[in-house]
């Protein structure tokens, strides 16, 4: 398997990171060598193995339904690159 430029463009789109031709070439090279290394996993037959998603062998703890967070709009919006004191402001969304 090899990762071509089309694939790089596709994942660049999915991950919302712009990639020009030069960067795409470099990424394709890097990713191919990394995936060559990763392919080692194919030596293993894992058909009957249950996947492990978390090593924490407990179950989810539940919290009670209480409102504790107050209005911290200023605190939240303070860090934003653009706002109008009420809303976060972003460039126009074009569908």
């Amino acid at each position: 398997m090899s990762i071509d430029l089309k694939t790089i463009k596709h994942i660049s789109k999915l991950s919302r990171i712009s990639v020009d031709e030069q960067k795409a070439e470099k990424l394709a090279g890097d990713l191919n060598s990394i995936f060559k290394f990763i392919e080692k996993l194919n030596e293993l037959n894992t058909d009957k193995v249950k996947p492990l998603t978390s090593v924490a062998e407990t179950t989810l703890k539940l919290r009670s339904d209480e409102v504790k967070s107050k209005d911290i709009r200023n605190e939240i919006i303070k860090n934003s690159p653009q706002d109008n004191e009420d809303y976060f402001v972003v460039p126009k969304v074009i569908e």
Binding site: F37, L52, A56, K61
Partner: protein, 485 residues
């Protein structure tokens, strides 16, 4: 008192408690040395003036019952610190000032510690040499132009260079143990769920753990005792009975069964590492431990599995850095354009590379072949450990397959860089505790570390083994303060 910064944490605490030193004196000493050590580039943000203020305040109203009374501490810049810039080593968070404090750092302030500043690290903790930081690479105090390891490179350098008496780092695939090994200090990666992840900039949620880094095992134990608390704000925090690690620390490890996994004898490993390992085995025997040959058959699959799991989680964890709520934003013609430019300019090459890998392995058509496969391999690796822990109490391995390398040496070869973590990664995948202690030097005089891996929640045991071996090894770091003119 001279040479304040040479003192270990325990000595400093003792001197402050006995009023031989004030917090102000100690804080000043570490600030002075930090100021003289700019060439190490260990800090991203300094908070010296408010540290001095806090030290004065502490001295005015001393509470000597605390475990870290007026002790100045710099921490990895992955911990969110209230009103102090937190960057995660990234341009994308260059101007980010949290209004909140991570649980782990809060725990140390609660014991009287004082924040000195934020330490350099690989961008979003992705790296093994601290070369991916937006704020530049960090120098290893051991030698000029030597990497300190990563991602907690600034932390390791700061402890080894005595810019801070102790520190906390984070470890996702070896980011505490590998730099500890490269700089000749002690670093502990606790059991997953031992230290809260609340307020720590996430890299890979199922692997990330905060942990202590110190000059010796005792200091490390004390810090672990302080930072390890159950936290209801982290759903993966585990509510187990925590030891008072420093109080219960003992050198008596007689009869402990220590496993030596044959799979850690990898191709191309320098002879010096093998010799160090053998020496370590001898030390353990000298301490009264019983050595048992074991097998962890899936060891060689750990790194490939890790390079699926960690980037997958990271690709999702880092999606929040989009220029909308905080951090860097690039100009864009529309929302999508803004996203793409922000993330392309805001993230460095390694982070982008890993986001791409992660996105790819989760994408439609590849999930089963990569992500699911890796989760299954992760299970096999965990099973390996579960199996051997029926027979042994701990496992002894080298910490890294080599000593520290030169800055720039592996920068353009991601795979050879990734191989640095070959001995540390299995521990993260299985969620186990692991400690690296300095155990010797290679021919260049660079430190080499040994790793002791424990059962889940058995930090006390590996701290004890490390404590006992530390005495036998009696390691002395060869640091000549080359960067101080």
């Amino acid at each position: 008192m001279s040479d304040i910064t040479k003192q270990s944490l325990s000595e400093l605490v003792k001197n402050i408690k006995e009023k031989k030193l004030s917090s102000n004196e100690v804080t000043k000493a570490f600030i002075d040395r930090s100021e003289k050590s700019k060439e190490l580039n260990a800090y991203i943000s300094e908070d010296y003036s408010s540290a001095l203020e806090k030290a004065k305040k502490f001295d005015e109203k001393q509470n000597l019952d605390l475990k870290l009374p007026g002790i100045p501490i710099a921490v990895k810049d992955l911990f969110c610190t209230k009103n102090v810039r937190t960057t995660a080593g990234s341009k994308i968070l260059n101007n980010f000032v949290p209004t909140y404090e991570s649980t782990v750092t809060q725990n140390i302030w609660n014991e009287g510690a004082i924040l000195l500043g934020k330490l350099n690290c690989d961008e979003f903790a992705m790296g093994s040499s601290n070369e991916t930081s937006f704020f530049g690479n960090v120098q290893n105090p051991v030698d000029k132009n030597l990497v300190p390891g990563g991602s907690s490179g600034g932390s390791a350098s700061a402890v080894a260079g005595q810019l801070t008496p102790i520190t906390i780092g984070t470890d996702t695939g070896g980011s505490i143990r590998q730099p500890a090994s490269f700089t000749g200090i002690v670093g502990l990666k606790p059991t997953y769920g031992s230290c809260s992840r609340y307020g720590i900039v996430a890299f890979a949620s199922s692997l990330d753990q905060a942990g202590p880094m110190a000059q010796n095992v005792k200091d490390c134990a004390l810090l672990q005792e302080i930072i390890s608390t159950y936290d209801s704000k982290d759903s993966t925090s585990i509510d187990f009975k925590r030891n008072e690690y420093s109080k219960e620390l003992t050198k008596n490890i007689k009869g402990k069964k220590i496993g030596i996994p044959k799979e850690y004898r990898v191709d191309g490993m320098p002879k010096e590492i093998e010799e160090l390992w053998q020496k370590g085995i001898q030390y353990a025997k000298d301490c009264g431990a019983e050595i048992i040959d074991i097998t962890l058959p899936h060891t060689s699959y750990a790194l490939p599995a890790y390079y699926i799991v960690a980037p997958a989680e990271a690709s999702s964890n880092l999606a929040r850095y989009d220029g909308v709520k905080y951090g860097f934003r690039a100009k864009g013609e529309n929302l999508i354009d803004m996203y793409e430019k922000t993330r392309s300019e805001g993230f460095g090459a390694e982070v982008q590379r890993r986001i791409m890998i992660g996105t790819y392995v989760l994408s439609s058509g590849y999930y089963d072949a990569y992500y699911l496969k890796a989760q299954k391999v992760r299970k096999l690796i965990k099973n390996d450990f579960d199996e051997v822990y029926k027979k042994v109490d701990a496992i002894l391995t080298p910490s890294t397959p080599s000593s520290a390398f030169k800055i720039g040496e592996k920068k353009d070869d991601p795979v050879s860089m990734y191989l640095n973590d070959i001995f540390t990664v299995p521990v993260n995948l299985a969620g186990l505790p692991g400690i690296s202690i300095p155990a010797g030097h290679d021919s260049k005089g660079y430190p080499l570390g040994l790793q002791i891996i424990g059962k889940a929640f058995d930090e006390q045991n590996i701290l004890n083994i490390a404590y006992a071996m530390e005495e036998k090894i009696s390691f002395k770091n060869k640091i000549n303060d080359w960067w101080i003119k």
